[in-house]
Amino acid sequence: MTVAKPVAANMPLPRRRKPVSPVARLAATPVLAPVVPLLRAVVPPLLGLLAFLLLWTLVSQLSRGSLPGPVSTWASARELFADPFYQNGPNDQGIGWNILMSLGRVGMGFGMAALVGIPLGFLIGRFDFLARMTAPVISLLRPVSPLAWLPIGLLVFKAASPASIWVIFISSIWPMILNTAAGVRAVPQDYLNVARVLRLSEWKVFTVILLPATLPHMLTGVRLAVGTAWLVIVAAEMLTGGVGLGFWVWDEWNNLNVEHILIAIFVVGLVGLLLEQALVWLARKASFGQEN
């Protein structure tokens, strides 16, 4: 709660002048006033990006051309994105295909992890016995680098694509299990008391109380899982090959096309950012004004 200080109303303002920032001075002119919040929001990130580009240019100059600068990368990117969906055989496809294939694998592995992990998280959160039972296995397996699971995937599935889906599955299942379970445990006792007084059925308790109360935690788990999955897919595809961003990076390294590697880095970053933002938005929709 904010309470205005009553002192300010009838006391003379201190004489000392505060230094006025240029933005504040702009805000004082009536015409520009509505633009100021926009400027405040846009200017710092733009400056940051500009500084980054400058640094990049500097490093590329110092490297005497072995690292391409922003300008040549931009030119290469325009060429690349002019035709994103061409297909010249299995190892030479447009950037669009690469992105879609990677996203598809993440979606598959991640979706299966959600199907298994979220119900499992609910059970673990609801039944203490199950939590104690699964705790040692989860604690043991969770810190393992997802890529260590790749050989197992290759062994079982005998193909590259399902193996990388498997790696995504295993890397994204832990945050979903753990966050869902934590969410179920954090359901306020008050809500459960309401359920007890009303003698709601177990199903009604689940749909009306547990599920919506756990949703914000669950979505945090989903967000973390997507983040990891997207980190892991590039590495997994580098190792397995086929079509996909990771493989593309490795292919362009073999071709010594550094511009394309840089473009891939930006694309991976951008897609990751979009995935994250979409889930943050979803989480806000699902929080119903609860603190999260």
Partner: protein, 263 residues
Amino acid sequence: MDRFVELENIRKHFDTKKGRFVALQDVNLTIRQGEFVSLIGHSGCGKSTVLNIIAGLLDPSDGIALCNGREIDGPGPERAVVFQNHSLLPWLTCYGNILLAVERVFGAKESKLQLAARTEEALALVGLQHARDKHPHEISGGMKQRVGIARALAMEPKVLLMDEPFGALDALTRANLQDEMVKIVEKTGSTVVMVTHDVDEAVLLSDRIVMMTNGPAATVGEILSVDLPRPRNRLALASDPAYHACRSAVLDFLYQKHKREAA
């Protein structure tokens, strides 16, 4: 019915890490049908524990708790609870929160239309028709508490249990809600048990005030009958000597006989 709610030799202990903590000892209390009883005492005296035992949310360690001649076995909608912090489900609207309770209690016997009518009626009882489609985070604390009361009343409980229902509200809102509560109780004739630490609130609303001694092993210290005529009016009572007599009796109990050492 003279012995509608009956507590006989209730004892309640909690097993904590530091050993056994006896919260209540030898609590005996009978409540008539249609009576408004307040439980008052210093914090930590176990008054909420008594309420939770009647609600069935806690089991007594020893002794018998009866409601309407039957042993209290777990919580149930015939003993509706208004929780201290409203406990509305944030993802349901005000209407939805009340409907959830109405559906559970009357859903088996009544049509959808009748259930909707009951829900609207409950909202109207606390004067919140305008907030029907709002979610709890969009309304004030007093309004949330009113929805909580409406939800409990809509269940047509045999006993309405209120755990410091107005404790979290500012003084003005609290007074308004108390006045509304006076009217609602007069209209519905409900049996009410209310936990409070507000002396004025207890005197204004109650037929009897149960004063509890300090814990551990708290018990019923004294019971005061408030023989003020109803309908009661806050302003008229302010100059009523009988009101002040009741008030000082409670204050005397709390601050003379069972003064709590400052922690």
